[in-house]
Symmetry: C2
Subunit: 232 residues, 2 copies
């Protein structure tokens, strides 16, 4: 018995320590649940919970009959919060401002349809707007909303509320794809973001679906001062 009280946290942290300190090297087959349960004076279910958490974190690899081993190539993953522009700006202590640039119903161009895997040229809503932090351009948003999936969007008033804020309240999504990349500012983007044409910009692209049906494609452009930070 290593510790008196055997909580799954204690066990998880202890096992985690053994791996971090290379007492158990990558690839090592670690003791089975029963053995660990006895060592920690806990029930197997408790050990199981600890092990499952570590497996979920990618530190351990578990297989029935084969046992549990320290991940050889730990596929470490980091999380990042899906940014909600208003919160993101206000969290920095800046004043959030929003400016609608244009809204129009239109047939989306080929490129957009392709990205959304839409065969027909669906009727879509094209919204362009700008988000400012302390009155400085922070993000230019160029968004297409699928009116077949979200017909209500046609009646929405985007003059004061951003399309993203409207959508989170009206069209929950089940799946999303995020793409991040660097690009050069177009003349249009440059003037809106108050930078020079060709200056590097940080681009986030977000596509969301509700049960396979595409809801929206958002093209989000930040000046190159933007940083996306995350911790592990």
């Amino acid at each position: 018995m290593t510790s008196r009280r055997a909580s799954f946290r204690t066990i998880r942290d202890e096992l985690s320590r053994r791996i971090a300190e290379r007492i158990w090297l990558p690839g090592t087959l670690i003791p089975g649940e029963e053995a660990l349960a006895e060592e920690f004076g806990a029930a197997r279910a408790t050990v199981n919970r600890a092990l499952q958490e570590l497996a979920r974190a990618g530190i351990l690899e578990r297989k029935r009959r084969a046992g549990t081993r320290v991940a050889l190539h730990p596929v470490r993953e980091a999380r990042f919060v899906i940014p909600r522009i208003r919160q993101e700006i206000e969290a920095r202590g800046s004043e959030y401002r929003y400016r609608l640039l244009s809204v129009e119903e239109a047939n989306a161009p080929e490129v957009i349809c392709a990205r959304l895997s839409l065969l027909t040229k669906s009727n879509m809503l094209h919204v362009r707007c700008l988000h400012l932090a302390d009155r400085v351009p922070y993000q230019f948003e160029d968004r297409w909303i699928n009116l077949n999936t979200v017909p209500d969007a046609g009646k929405a008033d985007f003059s004061t509320i951003g399309p993203n804020e409207w959508l989170v309240g009206h069209a929950p999504f089940s799946n999303a794809e995020f793409t991040f990349m660097a690009g050069a500012a177009s003349a249009d983007e440059a003037s809106l973001l108050q930078i020079r044409e060709g200056d590097p910009v940080f681009i986030g692209e977000r596509i969301t679906w509700m049960k396979g049906a595409p809801i929206t494609l958002a093209h989000l452009v930040h000046p190159s001062s933007h940083r996306m930070v995350t911790h592990l």
Copy 2:
């Protein structure tokens, strides 16, 4: 009894559906574990597991005595795999190549020390190298390794193995910070990546620590064709 077999997955997915389909609106107080257990014909522990998973995903908010409610402002987070350059390139079906550009022990410049929150000008190893996919430059890596934390790195041979691969095998990290941004290619970076000076580049910066002690700072530069994709 809604379903015959009550697995925590069934319950989780059903609850998830009710939230997605707005049967339970954000802020709603949902039935307690006992009630759900009865509804699904399952044990409370099973319901608990389902609820905990949803809470962990940010869909539910739970508080003792107060009960469980649908998250009002669901802090959705996405995961991305921490890229391991060789695997990343090989996963695309490309041939991975590595070229060491320079290694030298040196005192890190102020900027680097500051980023690593090091007060003294620690003795560090400066490694510069290039990663290629199908012989085309894919990533330029400019890395500083703290020799006080990882003394062995001084003896390592980085001519065939990249510093990242060496480090994952020799210096496990407990904490990491990732920063992604856009920038303009310097003359140096441009010639290495076979692009033009000033062209936009996608930059990833990675700092890792082992129990508070900084291990390394990696500055990773990709040409603007690079895309970082993740799903939810």
